[in-house]
């Protein structure tokens, strides 16, 4: 770590050969490139959602659509409450992931195990929340191709709203699911002392990058569907 800082302050000539110009290992650069391509995929989804919404006269009011809460009575009106809990679950799991990465840098196996378990729990909690919400909306009659919610101004709406909602939150949920699987694999590898044998926990950093990206995408999805 201290080597890196001294090298970069000396205005080193990074492109003259003999050293890695990015000064990170191959796998991490490739993870960044993958995440960049994934950012374009999500960006394409969200921009197409925005384009269709801009080209339509009316749109359902998210505060009337997403107003229920698990175990609450039928007619409860609690807009934004459930989704804010989901958001905080994901932020907290991102924080525990940073702590796991940091513990890995300190070669602290116990810390890595502890924080990876918390991160996995956070991911599963988020997926459970999403499963509940999808199930609830499905019972209200919303699915791909059908939209029981009317526009905010009381006019009839199209199924564009539900199509985009289920496609984009579904794609994000699939990323969360993959992230949880990756994190479980990382936890097992840590418990098997794989990283102790290698002498570094770089794999945890790469899994961490992916997990933070999932959190990052949720920031955009949450804002675009529930707030705007």
């Amino acid at each position: 770590m201290s080597n890196v800082t001294t090298a970069s302050t000396k205005e080193a000539k990074w492109w003259n050969g003999g050293k890695s110009p990015f000064d990170v290992e191959y796998g991490k650069v490739m993870m960044w490139y993958f995440l960049m391509s994934d950012a374009f995929t999500f960006g394409a989804f969200l921009i197409s959602y925005g384009t269709v919404r801009f080209s339509t006269n009316g749109w359902p009011d998210p505060n009337l659509v997403f107003k229920s809460f698990p175990f609450a009575p039928e007619g409860v009106n609690a807009p934004l409450v459930f989704v804010s809990i989901m958001t905080f679950i994901l932020i907290v799991s991102s924080v525990t992931m940073v702590l796991a990465v940091h513990a890995g840098k300190m070669m602290d196996k116990k810390g890595v195990v502890k924080y990876m378990i918390w991160t996995i729990i956070g991911g599963i909690a988020f997926l459970s929340c999403q499963a509940w919400e999808w199930n609830h909306l499905h019972h209200e009659g919303a699915w791909w191709g059908r939209n029981p919610f009317m526009n905010a101004d009381g006019t009839a709406s199209t199924s564009n709203f539900t199509n985009f909602f289920f496609t984009i939150t579904g794609f994000h949920g699939f990323h969360v699911f993959s992230g949880v699987v990756i994190n479980i694999v990382m936890l097992i590898m840590t418990l098997m002392d794989k990283f102790e044998q290698r002498g570094h926990y770089l794999m945890i950093e790469k899994a961490g990058l992916y997990w933070h990206f999932v959190d990052l995408v949720w920031v955009f999805v949450f804002t675009c569907f529930y707030l705007l």
Binding site: S8, N57, L80, N147, P148, A156, H212, L216
Partner: protein
Amino acid sequence: MSQDTHAEHHDVIAEIKKVTIILSVLTIVELILGFWMIGITSEGLRLAIKGVIVILMMAKAFYIVAYFMHLKHELKNLIMTIVVPLALFIWFIIAFLADGNSFKNLRNNYDPYFKEQATIKAEKKEHGAHGATPSSHEKGASNEGEHKTKEGHK
């Protein structure tokens, strides 16, 4: 050496704490704005609040990428390789949203059916209400009526 890493450890933990607090505060402000917006009917004010929410969203994205994903502490070479291609989004967003908006205006001007659809009120439906009858005057509403009756039998 060990003292060095010890001090570094505290710095990192302090930074994580700071960023966690910033992200939580930004989210809470977003939610407060969201709740506030529920009661507001003025289009201009709603648009202004939405603008603020988007700025807060970008701030959250910055903190996650810069600190949690550690990009701020990487070499400038890597930062530029990642950030510069993403600048394409600026053009994507402006171009596509403007296109969508223009399509809406064109259809409102030249397609009377499209404009008429936006004025027909849908029937008010209470959740779980039985016996919602399919209405005959409008296609969209009649489809919705069918779903509602299906729901009622569940």
